[in-house]
Symmetry: C2
């Protein structure tokens, strides 16, 4: 039986998995291991897939920045990254050298966003922003059923931001300090700002008012530029259950009815596939290469 | 001989024109008149086109917001607008009732941006942001040769913004005050902030430092989300010759080398077609319907 492969290549851990081509929703086998340097990690990846002869295609959803421009000399490479042993590594080339099959090569957030579009929280719409807020902040954007890219993938965690008047934090982004979304609203930004684990901050802490303001502000910017049908939150930070209602309220205030959007309970939602989103997205993207 | 029609429908004035299908770059006849209410203005439009029997298609580039979703019940309508006599007016329907030919229906900024993409400042690239800064601020966005839209056209003049530390102005946007780009950087915002005509503000006035900061900030946001190959400035405000060099400098500082972009002299440029951009775009879009 023909199989699909998935490589969810995160900065902290890799998840590899296989599923039947006819049933991409059911994981047959799955392994995960910590992300080491490029060559060492890919050796573990290929060792896993070596167990399966009949892999028709593999989807790769990789931490960025990566080169996704097929015209580029470094297509398939991981670009400059603080992650040791990955800058300039030819990830896709290493896989192709291992076995010459079709690969769908994209970002981790595109993979997760795509799974939500195919069978998750956005399965009934065409235009989606999937926003993950965790160690970093990133977005996968789907417009009319296609992953959006210009000359490369979005880096929508680094949009410019207005500072909350009660926020004195200097920001966590090594490039943009407190001027970009990731610098202000990522998990590490919250913990460094309050010198406390985000989990231990109570619901009524100012931290969440500030976080909701930033996330809502970003959603207004995405909404005005991209006009999505739905915005989906993934990543660890939105696990805090009071956060999304606060984001919706702040979003309504900041957008100020300038544009029509769906009811906010349907417009701003949680991811449905949870931890499976990345692997599922890889399967779906791999399968799209076979049609 | 078969003709193309153009309707550049601005909030202040309308321009109508015709060109040969085989030579859309050469205007054969052109008229312009002030924008009155919907029905009165469209009567002047059709009176102009009544002079020509063989019009194969017409491109319409209209001030917004407009409904460009072909699935929508109000497709072809002008939506809620402060402009008297236009809210809820079926612009496209009125034209179709006049003559049943193909119409390309889009926004004024999409029309102008498209002309720059086809034969102007962006003719050699695929991913473009055309930003007009005048009475309002708006963008036409092209990704891989297609005008970008989600469930409607971009309203990228209303992205959220960080206030410049020296700027005390309350903002000009009736919806967003000083929190959005249009509220801070449009022509009327400059003049209200300084209580002076923008033209009379000297080159070394703080006004331009602030304006450049805002425009550059917006470009960083567009760049991170959309990854364009080029950003093109239209509208009256960028006529100030010192402005674009200041925008490039501020952009470099704010982006902080986070992403690779083209040399800034090629990345951030002026419109090439000037006042003809809108009409030319209409011709090109009309012609695209015939292929």
């Amino acid at each position: 039986m023909s199989l699909l492969g998935a490589i969810e290549a995160g900065g902290t851990k890799f998840v590899v998995a296989v599923a039947n081509v006819d049933d991409p929703d059911t994981v047959i086998a799955r392994e995960s291991f910590p992300t080491l340097d490029g060559p060492t990690t890919i050796k573990q990846v290929t060792a896993f897939f070596d167990q399966y002869q009949d892999i028709a295609a593999i989807g790769i959803a990789a931490f960025g920045p990566i080169d996704i421009n097929p015209q580029s000399r470094t297509y398939g490479y991981v670009l400059d990254t603080p992650k040791r042993g990955w800058s300039g590594y030819n990830f896709l080339g290493a896989m192709q050298a291992w076995r010459d099959i079709p690969y769908y090569w994209t970002t981790d957030v595109n993979g997760a966003g795509w799974s939500e579009y195919v069978s998750g929280a956005a399965k009934d719409v065409e235009n989606v922003v999937y926003l993950t807020v965790g160690t970093g902040v990133g977005a996968g954007i789907i417009q009319h059923g296609h992953l959006l890219s210009g000359n490369s993938h979005p880096e929508a965690g680094h949009i410019m931001m207005r500072k909350h008047p009660k926020d004195k934090y200097v920001g966590h982004c090594p490039f943009h300090g407190d001027t970009c979304l990731e610098g202000l609203a990522s998990g590490p930004a919250i913990e460094e700002r309050w010198q406390e684990s985000a989990k231990s901050l109570p619901d009524d802490h100012l931290a969440w008012e500030i976080e909701a303001d930033y996330l809502a502000q970003a959603l207004v910017t995405y909404t005005t530029i991209l006009r999505p049908d739905r915005i989906i939150f993934g990543g660890g930070v939105p696990h805090r259950s009071i956060l999304l209602p606060m984001v919706r309220e702040s979003f309504a205030r900041q957008l100020a009815d300038y544009l029509p959007v769906d009811d906010l309970e349907h417009y701003i939602v949680h991811v449905e596939h949870g931890d499976n989103a990345g692997v599922l997205g890889c399967f779906y993207l791999a399968k799209s290469l076979l049609n």
